[in-house]
Amino acid sequence: MSGHRRLLDLREGDSLFLLGNEAVARGLLEAGVGFAATYPGTPSSEVGEVLNDIAQEAGMYFEFSVNEKVALEGAAAASMSGVRSFAFMKHVGMNVASDAFMSLGYTGVRGGLVVMSADDPSMYSSQNEQDNRHYAEMAWVPLVEPSNPQEAKDFLVHAFELSERRGVPVLFRTTTRVSHMRGVVRAGPRRQSSAKGSFKKDPWHLSLLPAVARRLKDELLSKYEVLRKDADSSPLNVIIGGGSEVGAITSSAAYNSLMDALPDLEVKVDVLKLGMSNPFPEGLVGSFISSHKTVLIVEELDPFLELRTRALAQMLGIGTRVIGKMDGYFPSAYEYTPSIVRRSIARALGIRVADTEPVDLGVELPPRPPVMCPGCPHRATYYAVALALRQLKLKATIFPNDIGCYGMGFYKPFEMGDMTLCMGSSIGTANGFSQVTDQPVIAFIGDSTFFHAGLPALVNAVHNNRHFLLVIMDNSTTAMTGFEPPPNVPYEAGGRPATPISIENVASAIGVKYVKVVDPYDLRGTLAAVKEALGYSGVSVVIARRECALLRDAEIRRSGEKIPVYEVDQEKCAGCLNCVQDFSCPSFYANDKGLAEIDAELCDGCGVCVQRLVCPPAAIHESKEGRD
């Protein structure tokens, strides 16, 4: 939907049904942000989707940076030049940005600087479930936690004001259920943004040499004392209800689940909702726990609020019973639903609740796992690699894999994902595997991920004379998160022209001697290159280059043409079902005669299946009619 303009047109007092991340984007307009940068990652990506469409018109500079660290460093410099700045990322992106983040409290900021971390409880699209609230505490900076789209917008504006007033960066932490929640959002006034600033030199605050940093640590701690008072009087921290013996302290999406659970429990609970949870508002929490006999801590993931509440109770000598994860009543993993919160509270307080029996049809339903799309070039690449291994009779090959759509090579029939840790780890772990084992190693990485964190690992591999094959799957986009441009394409956010970086030139310049670019749709050529590369001693790189099928579909539709469709000649089909099982394109299925057929609604017209390497009897041909 190109409806993102609506966020620009929205007048004060108007409301819309907005996604949390859309509300964040609107918040940037209301805060007058002039510089925004990201590396895309679910569940934060839609902020970038909106900015890609409207930043230019809003007078804001926006870029998809090469990684989160560079995004934050750019934002930090913009802030030091007086421009309100924003860097946003998924939770594991904060690990990449953390090197810069940890020192920004020391330098302080000028234009407001807010860093958004979108955490992913239940790991809907992530490799771990880390709780990034700890980063705020580690860096001695304020933490703001909204719980719904309206708060996401309002709290963000507040975070910018706080950042600017106190000269510190603010960590703005959402979760999947906040970023991907839709709700009614009422707009506030827009603030004029300025994308240009000017830098006044101040090396004794900004260049963190040991002599400078040592002095600044004291300043940071003094600032933190002021922030403690801010937290205690913050309008983001509110008490709902009053007069009950039972209280609950909560934040973020857990607040919603708590409030939705309470009507089903026969107990009155006063709720202290923390929107600014670091520095920990000790005055506020202290008086809350001392005025309640029992206090429940309802928070997702780590016992962040709980640990501080327990420490505070001990310091103040308060005997209130504190209930949370540490005493085993609330779960320490996965997101909280109203039902989970309700059961946990009931157990802690000894209340009986009647659970409704779920409807059980008594039939196992077939799963519908995510698959590589029909026409996906990655499938053809994996298929060619599988053929090469079979022909060379290679056994026990190790396949380090990486973060992106191609990660689905993990599943049958390819099963080429032996280890995936984080962005770029395919090449990093290939370094280790090739050193300590004598097994063949083939690492897979996408173009965007290669630039993000793969480059230093490739430098390391060449420098240390490693021996492995690196397959760079270049689909010329960051497909998984919404088709953001990586550095190898000639455009950037908003479609503005950019300088493309050649992957093959980079690999050659690093010193890789065997570099070959292939088209994965050409199975024979890809197979030949993979076989040749596997015979090469040292680090070899095969770049499988073919645009993402979804992008090509969009182009075909824009041009008003039809997507070609293929069909199986039932006379010629030998029923080997290689296309269904080994090639595993989802548009293929076996009919009741045991022969292969193509679902014309799903076929993407790539034509890879026509080749004899997929269909030995050459039974597949283009059909007369394409599809829309």
């Binding site: 049904f17 719904n148 929640m181 919603n256 939705d260 779920p358 409807v359 039939v363 077939p366 519908r368």
Partner: protein, 209 residues
């Protein structure tokens, strides 16, 4: 068929389920915008990311006096399903008395294609669901969409069906205004017709039961 309205209960909980690409997130957006325009509260949640084409896309949609988008266990009032298998799958979150309005569209999952799993007998599923107190209404959305002249309008037919069955406490003009807000003008008319056809069809289906 029972008419439910927000006046008679404080909340309405709807699971909108389907397969990636069927447009059920867009359906939820239109429903939510319409509810907002009717002056009520709506929240919904969508799961993005790994759910690419072909994966399950499930949306929790809630109207009324609620905070978060996650529907508590056993409190689903309506399963609005865009694909038969996914409609039945979503019943694991239902209770006796839950209504299921499902499109008759079938999309065979890849696990069945590659022979890892079997497509279930839909007649058995239907019979078991009925015996567990689920009210089932089937809407032939693909055929109606074809008749309207846009295969892509199936999702608005299902929105119309939810409205026609009394699960959307809004005026039809609220839905049309929501469509105007979210689609470009050339698509308004076909989507208006889809909503109307869906509402008409669910009334017809209900009257034959």
């Amino acid at each position: 068929m029972t008419q439910s309205s927000i006046g008679s209960r404080e909340r309405l909980n709807i699971v909108i389920t389907g397969v990636g690409g069927q447009g059920n997130v867009t359906a939820g957006i239109i429903m939510g915008e319409a509810v907002r325009l009717a002056g009520l509260n709506a929240v919904m949640s969508e799961i993005h990311g790994l759910a690419q084409r072909g994966g399950v896309v499930s949306v929790d949609f809630r109207i009324g006096d609620v905070y978060g988008p996650i529907i508590p266990d056993g409190q689903v009032d309506l399963v609005l399903g865009f694909e038969l298998l996914e409609s039945y799958r979503a019943l694991s979150r239902a209770r006796p008395g839950t209504t299921m309005i499902t499109s008759t569209e079938r999309i065979v999952p890849s696990s069945v294609n590659v022979g890892d799993a079997k497509y279930p007998d839909l007649a058995v599923l239907r019979e078991r669901a009925l015996s567990r107190g689920i009210r089932i209404y089937e809407v032939d959305a693909p055929s109606i969409a074809l008749a309207i002249g846009s295969k892509l309008s199936s999702n608005m037919i299902m929105v119309g069906a939810a409205y026609g069955a009394g699960f959307l406490p809004v005026h039809i003009d609220n839905i049309k205004d929501a469509i105007r807000l979210h689609f470009r003008e050339s698509l308004w008319d076909v989507n208006f017709r889809a909503v109307e056809a869906g509402a008409q069809e669910i009334r017809r289906v209900a009257s034959t039961m």
